[in-house]
């Protein structure tokens, strides 16, 4: 926008009439002629257009807050705090349970395995965009992962991990791949690395899969603890089932 262009009230209103299509034909034609021959005039018209569109766009944005209030609150996300509360009760109950003895544990082992089979599905992986060249190796392994060739994906990612040992994407997907490949003990250290990195995008996912790993290992307490921190996917359902 050019600060030197002074826009008079008449000019503003004329441009508005042009933009609203409310000009008589002869005026409209003269106006367009002027735009074609006078670049500075065209700039003024563009500036005013930007002003009007900016007002509308921002006004709409602010209206959306009103619109949003009309949406009924249906989805269950807010239950997270409740679940956390539950967790404290769960641990208390579990402490008692431990005292009951090994018979109980063997049945619990069975049921946690069942829960694992019922709920586990590997992370769907990231969209493989081959255009980012520096990530070619990463996404190349991702293709293996998505095709279920977990072993091959793990080998490739582990090679990349040598140069970037703390990379959270690598740690996360190696962990998840191990778990999907039924090597849950191998998965644990990789997922743990990511659970410690609270800034990671995969932080909550890592808690989730670490929880699943422990569930598979029949370490119910650790499973619950990690699932509680994840609050994603079906972790709430699993926690509730564990409480049954």
């Amino acid at each position: 926008m050019n600060p030197n262009n002074n826009i008079s009230q008449e000019l503003l209103e004329m441009v508005e009439r042009y933009l609203n299509n409310t000009m008589p034909e002869h005026e409209h034609n003269a106006f367009e002629n002027r735009m074609a021959t006078e670049p500075s005039f065209k700039t003024i018209v563009e500036d005013i257009k930007t002003l009007l569109f900016g007002i509308e766009k921002q006004a709409l944005k602010e209206k959306l807050e009103d619109f949003h209030k009309a949406i009924p609150n249906i989805s269950p996300e807010k239950k997270v705090t409740k679940v956390r509360y539950l967790y404290f009760k769960l641990t208390a109950a579990a402490v008692l349970v431990v005292a009951i003895g090994s018979f109980w544990f063997s049945t619990q082992n069975n049921s946690s395995q069942k829960l694992y089979t019922k709920y586990f599905s590997p992370d769907p992986g990231l969209a493989t965009t081959m255009s980012q060249n520096s990530n070619y190796n990463f996404y190349n392994a991702m293709v293996d992962y998505k095709q279920g060739n977990y072993k091959s994906a793990i080998v490739k990612w582990k090679q990349q991990l040598i140069n970037k040992p703390s990379n959270d994407s690598l740690n996360y997907f190696i962990g998840v791949a191990y778990l999907a490949n039924n090597e849950e003990n191998e998965a644990i250290p990789f997922l743990e690395n990511v659970t410690k990195n609270i800034n990671s995008t995969f932080n909550r996912d890592a808690f989730y899969y670490l929880g699943m790993t422990y569930l598979k290992n029949n370490k119910v307490e650790l499973a619950k603890k990690n699932l509680t921190f994840s609050s994603i996917g079906n972790s709430k359902e699993i926690l509730l089932e564990l409480d049954k």
Binding site: T50, I55, E56, K63, A70, S75, A127, S134, D168, S169
Partner: protein, 179 residues
Amino acid sequence: MVTAIQSNDQVALKSIYTLNYPKVEAYILKNSGSKEQAKDIYQDAFVAVWSNIKSGKFEVRSESSINGYLYTISKNKWLDYLRSKHYKKTTNLPNQEFNNHSDVNIDEKDDDILKEKRLENVMQAFKGLASGCKTLLTKFYFEKKSMETIAEELNLDPASTRNKKYRCMQKLREIALKN
């Protein structure tokens, strides 16, 4: 429907908004997002759809095509978001390709960026404009009410409403230029 959107018919806009939100929220929650993120992404998408319909970039064939379009844009925006966070984290290594973008359309791109920046400045300026001006300009340019109606609503006479509108526009322009 297009006319309703062109004229910012609030009843129509609101019904499109509330009708399509639940599906988008469900998608984002299922794909590791939060409700807050779902709302942000959806509102961005909604403004983009509105803007594309207004500019003729998207041709509306039926009401259901708007719904589909809104869902697709929301989904793409969410995927972009997931990818960009990922992108930031995995490009710590030197990337030789990074600066080798084709520069064929560089002028055009720069021009677009500049336009986008100007629009952003105006929006920011309008956001912080004094509430009296904001109300008046919203009624006039967004709600498309006539000067007479606005004058009545604000308890002013039409001539001073017209003047006030002009002064508000000058103010807005001044702030936008400073940004």
